[in-house]
């Protein structure tokens, strides 16, 4: 009974909102080809209303998140052992996205409440699932901070506060840069409308990221036919080695 009530409450939250999102993206697929050097995706949209904007409420805010495929990761820490730096502690994080960007119209702690952050999983700290890591090492929290720092430095995790442009509480747009070291998979794009730190509407889209052409072919062959792939690498090396010495013999004579 309580569960049903809670479900009803949850469902009625954004569902009954008078404001809804109409969104679009500059592209819904990204091809990793040989000359892939990152990609910029424009995410834009408008707020659809049947009635005028509600009076007496805070201003409209928008949050856009882009989330790459998640995998378990191992976070290791170096320590000094006998004078040299080696990995001597590690924790396993159940699931961390390979890419995560949050773009907002304003500072996150001003526009988003902790409860809604928890419910919708908006900031990166809420997206990473790390159950039970406290048992694996001392100061397990430090490992999570380390993970965030490493991935932020690699350009994989980004917080773009104030990077969503909102015009007349109706039109919004933001650019999200996907880095060159991208992983394949489905990238989930979520859009949230907020008022008074509460989510009032949300929408989800997907961008497909795939290796294409030569990249696709090499990667598939390496995964599916590793023996043939290894032998092919050798044939290539042998041809190049033989070809070079033959070519230079021609030049000499």
């Amino acid at each position: 009974m309580i569960r049903a009530l809670a479900l009803l409450l949850l469902w009625s939250g954004p569902g009954l909102a008078q404001e809804q999102i109409v969104a679009g993206m500059s592209q819904n697929r990204v091809s990793i080809t040989a000359d892939f050097d990152g990609s910029e995706i424009l995410i834009y949209g408008a707020v659809k209303r049947d009635t005028p904007p509600p009076e007496g409420q805070g201003p409209l805010e928008v949050i856009v998140t882009v989330e790459g495929p998640s995998t378990p990761v191992t976070v290791r820490r170096k320590g000094r052992v006998a004078g040299i730096w080696i990995n001597n502690a590690s924790v396993t994080v159940d699931s961390a996205p390979s890419f995560y960007a949050v773009a907002t119209t304003g500072p996150l702690n001003h526009i988003l409440s902790d409860t809604d952050n928890l419910r919708y999983g908006i900031t990166i700290e809420r997206v990473i699932r790390a159950v039970g890591i406290t048992d694996e090492a001392d100061q397990a929290g430090e490992f999570l901070l380390g993970l965030l720092r490493v991935r932020t430095n690699e350009g994989r995790y980004r917080v773009l506060q104030g990077k969503v442009e909102l015009t007349e509480e109706t039109l919004f747009r933001t650019d999200v840069i996907l880095p060159a070291n991208l992983t394949e998979g489905e990238y989930k794009v979520r859009l949230f409308l907020l008022r008074d730190k509460r989510v009032i509407a949300s929408q989800e889209r997907v961008i497909g990221v795939r290796k294409e052409g030569l990249e696709r072919w090499i990667f598939n062959l390496a995964q599916e036919q590793p023996l043939i792939y290894g032998l092919l690498s050798l044939v290539m090396a042998a041809l190049a080695g033989w070809g070079a010495s033959a070519a230079f013999r021609l030049v000499r004579t």
Binding site: I32, T33, A34, D35, F36, D37, G38, T71, P72, V73, T74, V75, R76, R77, K78, G79, R80, G83, I84, W85, I86, N87, S90, T92, S98, F143, G146, L147, R149, V150, R151, A180, N181, T183, K211, L214, E215, R216, I218, F219, A222, Q223, P226, L227, Y229, G230, L231, L232, S233, L234, M236, A237, A238, A240, G241, W242, G243, A244, S245, F248
Partner: protein
């Protein structure tokens, strides 16, 4: 021009890779080494994951060794009997090496293990080579000093299973060449090197082979061991990056031919001193990385510990 490497999953400048291959090829042509010990650490520095760097390095050594052995065949500088025996040991060593490589990857200590192998082996060989070539340089200046015989009888000659090696003019046990081959195969798998820098001195000083056949025979063995290593890495961990290898090889074969030209103009002692300094420099550079406090203590690897 940026190029996305399909296996390493990083985007690298294509000309940087060609240049890297070219410089290493130049040095390897000049000094007559495979260049694996240079290319693998250089790939670490530009951000290629260590596992991919090692496996792809082995593939690159195949190409440069084939190019080298063809030149040696013309000079009749290959002792095939010895080559096959060394190879037999090499394949065993390589299989063990690939297995240890996987074990260390699972334990999260592969970077350390590879780095330590580099520091220890390059440091040791570099120091020995430097000392030896310095001594011979001094001896050349001081005529009348006693010359050490290269062919001395030692414990090596007392072992069983003797065999004739015609091209080398040797009648020795097969155990020492097998062991040398195995040690080199092991290092090839772990360090992504051909192992010529270890095998050449071992052949001269331990087996007493004539210098004329040493380089050709070691290259002959290296081709097969690195080829085997490449396939093993491709099958067990899918870490050979064909595109990366192709660029390195293209740069490398051109550089090697130029390097060979420059090499013949320098004296053997000078070459050996320069090579030993280069080997020592690489070893020290990697050692510094291990000793200096790293900027980031944490590292992230996808996947779960087994």
């Amino acid at each position: 021009m940026q190029l996305y490497l399909p296996i390493a999953e990083v985007s690298v400048n294509a000309f940087l890779l060609l240049g890297l291959g070219g410089i290493v090829g130049f040095l390897s042509g000049m000094f007559g080494v495979g260049g694996g010990f240079l290319i693998t650490p250089l790939l670490f520095f530009i951000g290629v994951p260590p596992a991919v760097a090692v496996a792809t390095g082995a593939n690159q050594v195949v190409a440069s060794s084939i190019s080298g052995v063809l030149a040696q065949l013309k000079r009749k500088g290959v002792d095939f009997t010895m080559g096959w025996v060394l190879l037999g040991g090499g394949l065993i060593g390589s299989a063990i090496g690939v297995w240890v490589f996987r074990l260390m990857t699972a334990l999260g200590q592969i970077d350390l293990f590879v780095q330590l192998s580099y520091v220890v082996f390059l440091g040791l060989i570099g120091a020995m080579m430097f000392q030896e070539s310095l001594r011979s340089l001094l001896r050349a200046r001081k005529p009348g000093a006693p010359v050490r015989r290269s062919h001395v009888h030692s414990w090596v000659h007392g072992l069983p299973f003797k065999m004739k090696f015609r091209a080398s003019g040797l009648y020795i046990s097969v155990i020492p060449p097998l062991m040398i081959g195995a040690a080199v195969g092991f290092l090839a798998a772990i360090m992504g090197v051909g192992g010529g820098f270890i095998m050449v001195p071992a052949m001269i000083y331990l087996l007493g082979m004539p210098t004329k056949v040493v380089i050709g025979t070691s290259l002959f063995q290296i081709i097969f061991v690195t080829a085997f290593t490449t396939v093993m890495h491709a099958v067990t961990s899918q870490t050979v990056d064909m595109l990366l290898a192709l660029l390195l090889i293209l740069g490398g074969v051109v550089g090697a031919q130029i390097g060979t030209r420059v090499g013949v103009r320098l004296k053997a002692e000078q070459l050996r001193i320069l090579l030993s300094l280069l080997v020592l420099a690489v070893s020290i550079r990697i050692a510094v990385d291990l000793l200096v406090t790293p900027g980031e203590l944490y590292s992230v690897a996808p996947g779960v510990l087994p």
